[in-house]
């Protein structure tokens, strides 16, 4: 009997101890994430203007009117374009740079620094720099085009619907290439040289070595790069806000900026919050495969 009591005490402590250790973090988590999240969910079902003390419950009205909002349609389209381009292009360029820098290249540390520097610059500074580069009259891009006789290609890059979104994507690609490059570089350095030696002995060409040795070895890095890039792409807000303010007109609005405009500028917090809920649900849906893959590996 005495033995049973002696054994049961540590068991109880063991059951509750993890929760006690997690409690401070849980309190912060509940207070600063769960509660605001549930509040937002609630406000998305109201007509709150974001400023008044009162509001009315409107059910799913905010969600139902989204498909008929032409700016939401534009924003969804822009989000899709943004996501595809700003994931694919920096990832491919980052991989190519990593492969180039993994070889015997002079000044490797300086080149790494140069390629990674845009990633650490403040986004507003980047927006300002590129805003000037794109200036239709005095910007370096149009000046260069005129200098080499390509006057016809000089455009008001940020001032017309047809080029504005693409023009904002260029600096986004520029600043986001350094991150996959670093991850791929680290992963490349972890591939045992014996694999390449064996492939060479087997008569594999460089191209075959790339597809059959390098790429499979980079699979964990691909997961991380793609998942983080995906999350980054869904969060797009600052570049658009700083460079075009969603314009000309509403042509470069994305869901993030349109949510902001509704909540903070149009005094339609209920509708804006509903947009935020949709963005979040979509982000979770596309993030689940990554989470599953990570948990499978962990288990």
């Amino acid at each position: 009997m005495a033995t049973t009591v002696a054994l049961s005490k540590p068991k109880r402590r063991g059951r509750w101890s993890p929760w006690l250790f997690a409690l401070p973090a849980l309190i912060v988590y509940v207070g600063f994430l769960v509660y605001p999240a549930l509040s937002s969910l609630w406000f998305s079902l109201t007509n709150w203007d974001g400023l008044s003390a009162t509001y009315k419950f409107v059910g799913l009205d905010n969600y139902l009117k989204m498909p008929s909002d032409p700016v939401v349609v534009t924003a969804v389209k822009n989000n899709l374009i943004w996501t595809v381009v700003t994931i694919a292009v920096p990832t491919v360029i980052g991989l190519l740079l990593a492969i180039a820098l993994n070889g015997k290249v002079h000044g490797k540390p300086i080149l790494r620094l140069i390629f990674y520097t845009p990633a650490v610059l403040p986004l507003v500074s980047i927006a300002s720099i590129w805003g000037w580069l794109y200036n239709p009259q005095y910007g370096a891009i149009n000046s260069f085009l005129r200098l080499i006789g390509l006057d016809g290609l000089a455009q008001p890059w940020l001032g017309q619907d047809s080029t504005a979104l693409w023009a904002v994507m260029v600096p986004a690609i520029w600043l986001r290439t350094g991150f996959p490059m670093l991850l791929y570089l680290a992963a490349l350095q972890g591939i045992p040289n014996e694999l390449y030696e064996a492939a060479t002995v087997d008569g594999a060409s460089k191209w075959q070595q790339f597809w059959n040795v390098t790429m499979p070895s980079l699979r964990p890095a691909h997961y991380i790069v793609l998942a983080l890039s995906l999350i980054d792409s869904f969060k797009v807000f600052d570049m658009i806000y700083a460079m075009t303010y969603g314009g000309p007109g509403t042509s470069t609005q994305v869901m993030g900026t349109w949510m902001y405009f509704n909540v903070f500028q149009y005094y339609q917090a209920g509708y804006g919050t509903a947009i935020a809920v949709v963005i979040t649900l979509v982000a979770i849906a596309v993030g689940i495969p990554y989470v599953r893959s990570q948990t499978k590996e962990a288990s």
């Binding site: 400023l51 007109g249 935020a276």
Partner: protein, 430 residues
Amino acid sequence: MSTFSRRGFLGLTSAAALGAGLSACTGGGTSTGGGATQAASNNLRLFTYEGDETIGLLKAQLKKFDEQNGTTTTVDSLPGSGAAVYPDKLRTELLGGKGPDVWRIWGGQIGAPFAKAKQSLDLSPYYSKYGWDSKINTQAIGGMTFEGMKAGVPFVSLGIGAWYNKSLFAKAGVSGPPKSYAELEAINDKLVAVGVTPCGLGGKYGWDIMRLFEYLLEHTAGPELHDKLLTGDESWDRPEVVEAFALFKKWQDKKWLPQGALGLDPADIEPAYVQGKTAYTITGPWTEAAAILSAKKSSSAFGTFELPTDKTPARHSGFVEGYMINAKSGNADKAAALIDFIIQPATQKALQVTASTVKGAEPDPKTLPLAAEWAQKYGSNPFYTIQDQAFPKKQADQYFSVQSDLLQGSVKPDAAAKKMQEIVSAWAKS
């Protein structure tokens, strides 16, 4: 165990992502509009968007007020943010329950939401106590009165006109400001002929390039119809509006506006007339301190004129700015005393207010000669409400979108007029 862990992890990760995403759009999830009334104290906080060139003057005057009243007034400023950003910051502070006691704000539809949401105090008792009705320009008070509630004390009433570079006008052989719209067009042609972009306006945010369109609308529609259009009492789907949109497009097509004007930031392009890159811009008297004097240029190298509308009475675009008091401030009386101090003519002069609403506070011709000239020549002319204050922000953005489509050629003037009618009538019905 492993199944439970994976699910648990998935659930927790999803909840975390949901939480992170949703929590980004709420300021704490309260619907009480910032909590209870703050406790009374001798500490006042004033929130403004005063620029670097004048914030020192304001702080000096507030120090003077504090010495006289035993208060401690702190100032927060968000300079250069414009009406597109400043109200957001203010709103966030108010919802956070730590709003300022007094804040500066534009009139019209920019200040209106704060009164409508009862975040700003009804100042009628203080108007009686301090006799503001008799001290301040009546039209200006109207710009900060919402649904009968005097929610703000306007201290500045600013008129928008043309500010030009004399040397560039001379280069084009232009002897002086235009007297008619036709003369203005002729000046534009002469400027383009000598390689000078006439009018420096930028389309980013919409409100800057809008100043040209509202002028053109005043020219084609005239004062009475223009006012009715702004309130939705007349249809926009009419020849006068179509003509104004056609003229707007003409300004761009004839290169009277900078290339790619729609993508330009007003902060970059407006001062271009001081730098000699454009001949003129459409702006208010603050440009003398903010663009001319800050660039160490002499005011004598520049001039100003009211854009000719060919209509009677001659009007220009205008707006008011003033102060509001936080409805939850525990220091409303002291805040009102502070506002009364600020609108004293001596304080207004010390603050170098270029277009004060207070009698006896006209700008000093020695310090700001052009602003004084504008006030003397055109200050007493009536003005129409600047259009980004005439419409709520959402409708104003829709209106900017129509302008953008028109300038890019995706919408014709008649379609733009129809679209504007849809926007304004939907707003008027709401």
